[in-house]
Amino acid sequence: MRDEGGPTLSAKARAIRAGDVRTISRGISGIENGDEEMRDLLRELYPFTGGARVIGFTGAPGAGKSSVIHELIREYLRFGLRIAVLAVDPTSEFTGGGVLGDRIRMPVFHDHLYIRSFGARGRLGGLSDSCGQVLSLLDAAGFERIFVETVGAGQSEIEIRYYADTVVVVANPNQGDDIQMLKAGILEIGDVFIVNKCELPGADAAAAELTKMTHLFAKGERDGDQIAGYIPPVIKVSTREKIGLPELLNGIEECLHYLEDNDLLRASRRRRVEQDLSHTLSRVWQNKVLAPFKATPLWQSLSEDVSAARLDPWTAGERLWEAITAADFITTLPQKTTLPKKRSKPRKE
C-alpha cells in the first residue's frame, strides 16, 4: 500500500493520494477553472510528486496518436502500471466550445487507468497553462506513466517538450521526402519516432528516411542537456494490424532508462518547473500588474496619444516601462485588482 500521506493532509488530498477517481476528476476541473482553493490542494500534494514519467505524443491530425495510445495502454497495463492519459483537443477561439473526440479511440476501462479529455481552451501553445498543475496532481495520485496527447498542430508540438520526459512523434507513410522531414522540424523534438499505419505502402521508405535523418542529426545535446550517444529509434507500427506495439513500449522505456542512467530526468523535471514558474509569473503579472495598470490615467492618455498618431507606440512603450521601474510603481496602481470570475464560490463536496 502506498503512503497516503498521514493524517496531516486534508481529506481531499488524502482521497487523491488514494486514487479516488471522483476527487481527481473534480480536482482537474478545479485547476482548469482556476479555482482558488486548488492552490492549497496542490501545495499539499506537491511533495508527493516525482514518481510519474510523462510521455508526450505528437504528430499531424489523423496520424493515429489516439489509436497508438490506446494500443500502448493495453501493453502497459499488462505490466501492472498505473496509467493516466491527458488527451488535449482544440476548442474554438470564437465560442470556447469544442467536441473532445480523442477518447472515442480509447475504448478501454481498467482500475489502473484514468483518461481525461482536455480542452485547449484557446490558450497559447495548445497545451493549456493548467497542464503543469494537472500533471502534478496526477503524479501525486500515483500514476506511474502519464500520456499526454497534443492537438497535433502548431505550437503545442514544441510545448510538449517542456512537459514530457520523452516525446513520441507519430508519422505516417507518404508524408513527403527527406526535405519535408527536414523542414517540418519534428526531428528536433522526437525521442522516439514511429511510422504508424505501416501496413500501407511507403512505410519502409518513410522509416528508412527517418532513420537516416535521426543518424545524420542525432544531437549531442537537447535543450542544453548532454545526451550524446542517444539515437532516437524509428519503429514501424500498425494499430490496425497490431504490429510493433511491444517494440514501441520498449523504445519508450529504453529512452526513459537512458535519461535516468544519465541523470537527465532531473533536467527534464527542472525544465518543466521553469516552464510552470514562468506561466505562474505571467498570470500574476497579468492579474496584479497589467490589468490594473491599464486602468491608470498614464496608460489611458498614452493609448489615446498613440491612437491619434501624436505619439509612436515605441516611445509610449518606453514611457510605460519608465513608470513601471519607478520605485513607488505598485502603490500607484488602482486597488480594485480582481477581475470578475465565474464559479468563485468554492465547490463543496
Binding site: 471522483r22 482556476g34 477518447r103 477581475l339 463543496k348
Partner: protein, 140 residues
C-alpha cells in the same frame, strides 16, 4: 483566466447503430460554448457512468433510437446514484414515445428532446441544468 465551462457527455447506449443525431447535438452544444465528449456507439450504462466520472461532466445527454430507453436510462441513473454521482444531470433524446416522457422524468431525467427539437432549446436547457447542479454542489 477562464471561468467554469460546461462539460457534457453525449452517450449512445445499447445496440443502436445510428448516431447522426448524437453528433448534431454534440456539435450544437460545442457551438454553444460547451466542451462535449462523445462516447461513440454501443456503450453500456457502466461505461457511460465511468466516462462521466472520469471526465467530471456536468450533464449526460443520452441518444436512443432503438426503443430500449426504458431499460438503459433507469440503469444509468441507478449507477450514477451508486457512484455518488447523481448530481450529474441527465437528459435524453431521439425516438421516444410521448407516453414514456412522464415516467422518464419521474425517475430523474431532466428533459426529453424528441426529433425536430430546436438546438437552441437544448443548449438553453443544458445551461439551466448546469446552473441547478452548481447550486446543488454549493448546498452540499
Amino acid at each position: 483566466m477562464s471561468g467554469g465551462k460546461i462539460r457534457v457527455l453525449i452517450a449512445k447506449v445499447g445496440l443502436d447503430g445510428h448516431d447522426v443525431g448524437a453528433k448534431v447535438v454534440a456539435r450544437g452544444l460545442a457551438d454553444a460554448g460547451m466542451e462535449v465528449i462523445y462516447t461513440g456507439l454501443r456503450q453500456t450504462p457502466q461505461t457511460v457512468v465511468k466516462i462521466a466520472v472520469q471526465e467530471d461532466v456536468d450533464i449526460i445527454g443520452i441518444s436512443l433510437l432503438s426503443g430500449s430507453h426504458m431499460v438503459f436510462i433507469p440503469e444509468v441513473i441507478r449507477l450514477l446514484k451508486e457512484n455518488k454521482a447523481d448530481d450529474i444531470g441527465v437528459f435524453c433524446g431521439g425516438v421516444i414515445p410521448v407516453e414514456d416522457i412522464t415516467e422518464l422524468k419521474k425517475i430523474g431525467v431532466k428533459d426529453v428532446f424528441l426529433t425536430g427539437s430546436n438546438m437552441k432549446d437544448v443548449a438553453a436547457r443544458a445551461r439551466e441544468i448546469y446552473a441547478e447542479r452548481q447550486e446543488l454542489r454549493h448546498a452540499r
